[in-house]
Symmetry: C2
Subunit: 322 residues, 2 copies
C-alpha cells in the first residue's frame, strides 16, 4: 500500500545499438526492464510504437505502477535542446535529425516527457541515486570511446547558456597537443578507449616489454582497455604505467575543473573506471599533486555505482525533477 504514493516513470536509454527501458520509482529502483534493438524501429513512428508496446508490457509486470505513472524520460546519444525538448541530431542513429521528441511523446502518452543527452541523464542518475547522492555539486565523467561529462549544481543538471555545457572530454590538457575538430589537446584525444590502446601498441612497438601482446594472442582478441587492465592485475609494468598516464591526464582536467567550479565530488564511470585501484589510486595521488591544499582537502573522487542502469534511472529522474 505504501508504494501507491510513490510515483513511477519510464526511463529510456536510447543507444545506437539498443533501446533500454526501465520502469523506475522515485527511490531510483528499477521495477521492470525491457529492451529492443534500435534497428527494429527505423522510423520515429515505429520507435514510438515499440516504446508504447514495451510500456504496456512493463505495466503488466507491475500493475500497481500504472496509477502512479508520471511520465517518460529519454537519454539520447547526441545533441539536444533540453528546454525545447528537441533533438538536433543523433550521432549514430540515422533519421533522428530535428525531432520534437518531447512533443511527440507527450501527444502519444498524455504524460510529462523530457529528453536530454545520454551523459547528462547518467550524471543525473548517479548524482541522485548512485555514487553522488550525498553531494549537491558534483561532476560526472564517463570513460569510453569518448569522454563524456555532466555537471550537477545544487542537485540540478547545469546545462550552460545554450544547453551544451559539461563537455569535459574537450577540455585541453596541452595547448599544443593533438588536433581534433574540437580544438587542441582535448582530454579524450588521450584517454578515449582507442587512444589508450594505441598508446600501449606504440610503446610496445618502441621496444617496451609487456605481457599485453601475448595475452591478446592467447585470447585471440584485440588489445582493449579491459585486456590492459588484466595485464595490470598481473603486475605488468607497461599496463600499470598506462593507467598511471590515464589517471594523470584525468587529474589534470579534474584539477582545472576544481579551480574553476570547485565541486564536492567527481564521479567516474564507464569501462575504464572498472580498472578500480589501478586507475583511482594514481588519480587521487596526481590530483593531490595538482591542487593547492585548500582545494585538495575538500575534493572527493568516487567510482560510479549504477553501471549500465545509470542511463535508465537518470532518464526517469528527469521526470521526477519536474
Amino acid at each position: 500500500m505504501k508504494d501507491k504514493k510513490v510515483r513511477h516513470a519510464v526511463g529510456i536509454d536510447f543507444g545506437g545499438t539498443s533501446i533500454k527501458m526501465g520502469l523506475v520509482n522515485e527511490r531510483g529502483e528499477i521495477k521492470a526492464k525491457r529492451k529492443f534493438n534500435t534497428s527494429e524501429a527505423p522510423s520515429q513512428e515505429a520507435w514510438l510504437d515499440s516504446v508504447s508496446k514495451n510500456i504496456e508490457l512493463m505495466f503488466k509486470e507491475v500493475p500497481s505502477a500504472e496509477a502512479t505513472f508520471a511520465g517518460i524520460g529519454v537519454g539520447v546519444p547526441g545533441f539536444v535542446d533540453f528546454d525545447r525538448g528537441f533533438v538536433y541530431n543523433l550521432t549514430n542513429v540515422p533519421g533522428w535529425t530535428a525531432v520534437p521528441l518531447v512533443q511527440l511523446l507527450e501527444k502519444r502518452f498524455g504524460k510529462i516527457a523530457r529528453v536530454d543527452n545520454d551523459v547528462n541523464a547518467m550524471a543525473l542518475g548517479e548524482c541522485t541515486f548512485g555514487a553522488g547522492r550525498a553531494y549537491q555539486n558534483a561532476v560526472f565523467v564517463t570513460l569510453g570511446t569518448g569522454v563524456g561529462g555532466g555537471i550537477l549544481l545544487n542537485n540540478n543538471l547545469f546545462r550552460g547558456a545554450y544547453s551544451m555545457a559539461g563537455e569535459i572530454g574537450h577540455v585541453s590538457i596541452d595547448m599544443n597537443g593533438v588536433k581534433s575538430p574540437t580544438g587542441k589537446g582535448g582530454l579524450e584525444q588521450y584517454i578515449g578507449n582507442r587512444q589508450i590502446v594505441e598508446r600501449a601498441v606504440r610503446l610496445m612497438n618502441e621496444g617496451r616489454k609487456s605481457i599485453i601482446k601475448e595475452m591478446a594472442k592467447e585470447a585471440s582478441d584485440d588489445i582493449t582497455p579491459k585486456l590492459i587492465e588484466q595485464a595490470a592485475r598481473k603486475g605488468d609494468a607497461l599496463a600499470l604505467e598506462i593507467f598511471d598516464y590515464v589517471a594523470d591526464c584525468l587529474a589534470t582536467v579534474f584539477a582545472s575543473v576544481t579551480y574553476l567550479i570547485q565541486p564536492q565530488a567527481f564521479i567516474v564511470g564507464g569501462g575504464v573506471a572498472q580498472a578500480g585501484k589501478f586507475l583511482f589510486e594514481p588519480l587521487q595521488q596526481h590530483l593531490k599533486e595538482r591542487l593547492s591544499p585548500y582545494f585538495s582537502e575538500h575534493i572527493v573522487v568516487k567510482t560510479a555505482e549504477l553501471g549500465n542502469d545509470a542511463g535508465m534511472i537518470g532518464s526517469a529522474t528527469l521526470v521526477f525533477m519536474e
Copy 2:
C-alpha cells in the same frame, strides 16, 4: 526627488597599497569617492575608524544618500568565506588573518555588510553594470601580476561548494608545464605580467630583433607589458608575437571553460587587456580555432569597461544583491 528611492551602498576596494571607497547608487553610479593608504590603518580598529570617517565625508558631499544608505560591501585581496563574512587571510596585508569582517562592520555601522574577494567583486561589478551587463552567464578574467577570475551564473556570483571557485589562473594549459604550488601548467605561469616580460627578455637574449630593449633604455624604465604594447603599436614583430602567444594561452583556457560551463561571454580586464586589438584580435581568432562551430558561434569576448572602479562598484553591488 526621484533619487530618494534609489538605494546607496559604500563599496570598498581593499588593496595592498590603498583603500578606495565609493558611494555607489543602485544604478552602479559612483556619487562620491574617498581613498586612504592601507599603511595608515595598521590595525582593524584603525581601519574601521578610517572607513567610518570617510563614509561621513562622503555623506557630507552627497547628503541625500544618507537616508537611502543600505550597507557596506568590501572586496579584499585574499581568501574569504563569503557566507560567513569571514576573512581567512589577506595575501599582502599583515594583521588580517581570521577576521570576522562582516560582523565587525555590521556592529559598527548597523547596516548590512558583505565581504568577498576582490576579483569576485570586480566580476560582479563588470557583469552587473559594465561590459557584462547584458549577460546572465559570464566569466570575468583580470590580467595582472596574477590572472584572476570570477564566474557569474544566472546573474549571481558562483562560488562553488566551498566558496573558492573561479580560480581561472590555475587552469592548466599544459599537463607537463611550469610547476607551481597550484599545479602544473597553470595559465598565470605563462601570462602573468612578470611571465610576459620574461618571455620577451628570453626571446631577445636568444637573438630575436626587437625595438623593446631600446624603448626601455630611452624611457629609462624596466620592460613592462605596457612597453611591449607600445612596441606592438609601432609594428614590432616580437611584441606582436608575444601578444599572439598571450592570446593563444588565454584562448586555450576560454575554450576549455566554454566546453565545460558554456557561458555567454568572457569579460577581460586588467592591465594587459589595455592592449586592445593586439590582444583581442588574435584572442578571437585562436578561440574560434579551438572551438567546434556550435560553441564558437555563441561565445562573446569583450573588454572590461569599469577600469579601476570595478572593485568599488562591485563591492557595493554585493549589498544590492541582498
